[in-house]
């Protein structure tokens, strides 16, 4: 064979591009649909004679204006960010040390405890929200953002522990031993070695917890009743769906605005995620 690396035929290359293009369209389409619907006049959207993929009438800012002026969207966005940050912080503080301890526990106890903790994640919120609401009212947290800040970790923490255990187990013990010999304390080795190496896992936990806060519905709906304390996940469907009237333009605008930051973060750290999933594959 001549030249560096195998030459691929035109058909193979075209085939690859077709696959890549297909996936790109599949993934980008929801964003396109949200964007175009946000700016379409309602009459244009509902007319079945019109081509649904383009503007048939001039675009409008009416839906955005409605979203920002007639609803508490900005407030909901802020609430979601705040609750998201708090839940992420609580999750990391609890899950990272717990996962580390469980991953390093010798014998079968570590594994079994890990599975036990993960099982609690499988209990659905629809079963838990009634007993949970009693707890919330006993704590006097009903109708505040705190209600969800303290309840969301009940499922982000178990899942994150389970996820991080996998990452931590992939770190060879020798590495920690080497750090101990090289002059660190056990805690120092954890902070300077284990955490940087498992950064992709920790990042995954951050994004998982944050997206959960933006999408969760049952707890947020039952624990918080006043509009100014709601999150996007509850405020948007409640106030933009009135009976059987859907405010499609504003709904799509709200979804687009909420999803863009998360999509950006995902793309920014894409390499890290992939590195995370292949950790331990290389000796």
């Amino acid at each position: 064979m001549a030249g560096p690396g195998p030459r691929r035929s035109l058909a193979t290359r075209l085939g690859r591009w077709a696959i890549v293009l297909g996936f790109a369209i599949l993934l980008a389409f929801p964003f396109y649909w949200m964007a175009i619907t946000s700016f379409k006049q309602t009459a244009d959207l509902y007319d079945v004679e019109h081509d649904p993929f383009i503007f048939n009438a001039p675009p409008t800012l009416a839906h955005l204006r409605y979203l920002f002026e007639q609803t508490l969207f900005v407030r909901w966005f802020w609430n979601t960010t705040l609750a998201g940050a708090a839940v992420v912080a609580i999750t990391l503080v609890l899950a990272v040390p717990a996962a580390w301890a469980l991953a390093r526990l010798t014998g079968r106890w570590g594994q079994q405890l890990g599975i036990g903790i993960f099982l609690t994640y499988l209990v659905p919120p629809t079963l838990l929200f009634i007993p949970m609401s009693r707890v919330i009212s006993t704590l006097g947290l009903q109708d505040t953002l705190w209600a969800i800040i303290v309840t969301y970790p009940t499922f982000t923490v178990p899942f994150s522990i389970w996820l991080l255990m996998g990452f931590f187990k992939a770190i060879p013990r020798d590495l920690e031993d080497a750090a101990l010999v090289d002059g660190l304390t056990r805690f120092g080795a954890f902070v300077k070695l284990v955490i940087p190496i498992s950064l992709s896992g920790i990042l995954t936990v951050v994004i998982f917890s944050f997206t959960l806060v933006t999408q969760e519905f049952v707890y947020a709906l039952t624990f918080i009743s006043s509009a100014e304390h709601q999150t996007i996940g509850v405020g948007v469907p409640i106030f933009l769906v009135r009976g059987d009237v859907y405010y499609w333009g504003s709904l799509m605008a709200a979804c687009l605005i909420a999803s863009i930051p998360i999509a950006l973060v995902y793309n920014l750290f894409l390499d890290r995620f992939i590195a995370g999933f292949t950790v331990g594959a290389v000796k």
């Binding site: 020798d174 031993d177 080497a178 304390t185 120092g188 190496i197």
Partner: protein, 347 residues
């Protein structure tokens, strides 16, 4: 540089289990290259890890440079260790890997750079400093691990099978380099291996371990020529020492001592040797066979002879062979321990 000493050092992992290391008393010499040699499960790595402080002893003490360090964490023992997996920090460049112990000990930046370059120079890895560990070959990783170990000039080096992840060819040259390196820095070194070739080639002395007990400690020549018991006799040497049992005694002789009768001068134990299998190794041949007739009739023994002096020997033929008397070692049959020479009737 320092002397490492263990006093009745013991490690028992599970309650009621046999000890992984049983009351080991050892003392290195200053600047010595001491090898712990033993099969897997002999406790050699556990012993090393207790000296490093990575494993807490069940009983006994570790002394480094005359100071009892049993209760001290690894970082306070002035040691450096090279692991079998090299344990390079995957998220740091080679330069930062080497600088890691210095940084952990609060060495200022200027001095750190200086030391890193000194270590890299010494091991010939100056051109790799900006790379990540995963971009290195096995041999390069091993050098980086060594550089990280010497960079802060430890009083003792602990090496845990550092060559076993290299391929055979590289291993031979790495062995040589390590020996040269030890001669240059002169630091007391403890080296763990299960490979007797490494142990014989590199060690000033070898401690042979089995089941958590030091069976013998001595120079390579001593443990090979004067084994203290049947375990040491059969663990060292390839093929191992031949052992034949009489009433209360076991007689042992190395395969290279069982040679054609015609080549033996002086008193010797002569036997009739029928060759059943012949392995050609170039300059030498391994003859596997049985003793015919006499007291040890039917015993399987192995001979290693120069190809040049064993021309007429083929599979299935029987020949007169003999072992020079001074090459015979005797062991107590009950304990396996070495005993004084006896006169045995061979024919």
């Amino acid at each position: 540089m320092a002397i490492v000493e263990t006093r009745k050092l013991t490690k028992v992992f599970g309650k009621g289990e046999e000890g992984a290391v049983n009351a080991v008393d050892l003392e290195t010499r200053d600047g010595e290259f001491l090898v712990f040699l033993g099969p897997s499960g002999s406790g050699k790595s556990t012993l090393l890890r207790m000296i490093a402080g990575l494993e807490e002893p069940t009983a006994g003490d570790v002394l480094i440079g005359g100071r009892v360090v049993t209760r001290l964490p690894p970082r306070a023992r002035g040691i450096a260790m090279v692991f079998q997996s090299y344990a390079l920090y995957p998220h740091l460049s080679v330069a930062r890997n080497i600088a890691f112990p210095l940084k952990a000990h609060g060495v200022p930046r200027e001095r750190r750079l200086e030391r890193v370059h000194w270590a890299a120079q010494l091991l010939g890895i100056g051109h790799l400093l900006e790379r990540r560990p995963r971009e290195l070959s096995g041999g390069e990783r091993q050098r980086v691990a060594l550089a990280r170990a010497i960079v802060r000039e430890p009083t003792v080096f602990l090496l845990d099978e550092p060559l076993s992840n290299l391929d055979a060819k590289l291993r031979a040259s790495a062995r040589e380099e390590l020996t040269q390196f030890h001669k240059r820095v002169g630091t007391t070194t403890i080296y763990v291996t299960h490979d007797q070739v490494e142990a014989m080639a590199m060690g000033n002395r070898i401690a042979v371990l089995e089941k958590g007990v030091v069976r013998q400690i001595g120079t390579p020549r001593e443990v090979y020529n004067e084994p203290a018991d049947t375990f040491v006799a059969t663990f060292l040497g390839s093929p191992p020492m031949n052992l034949v049992e009489a009433e209360d005694v076991i007689a042992g002789f190395r395969p290279e001592s069982l040679i054609p009768l015609a080549m033996v001068q002086g008193p010797a134990a002569a036997v009739r040797f029928r060759v059943t299998l012949l392995e050609y190794l170039g300059s030498e041949r391994i003859l596997v066979g049985v003793i015919e007739g006499g007291r040890f009739d039917g015993r399987k023994v192995i001979s290693r002879v120069a190809t040049a002096s064993s021309g007429g020997i083929g599979e299935g033929t029987a020949h007169d062979f003999a072992v020079p008397e001074q090459e015979l070692k005797f062991f107590d049959r009950a304990t396996g321990k070495r005993i004084a020479p006896r006169v045995l009737q061979w024919r």
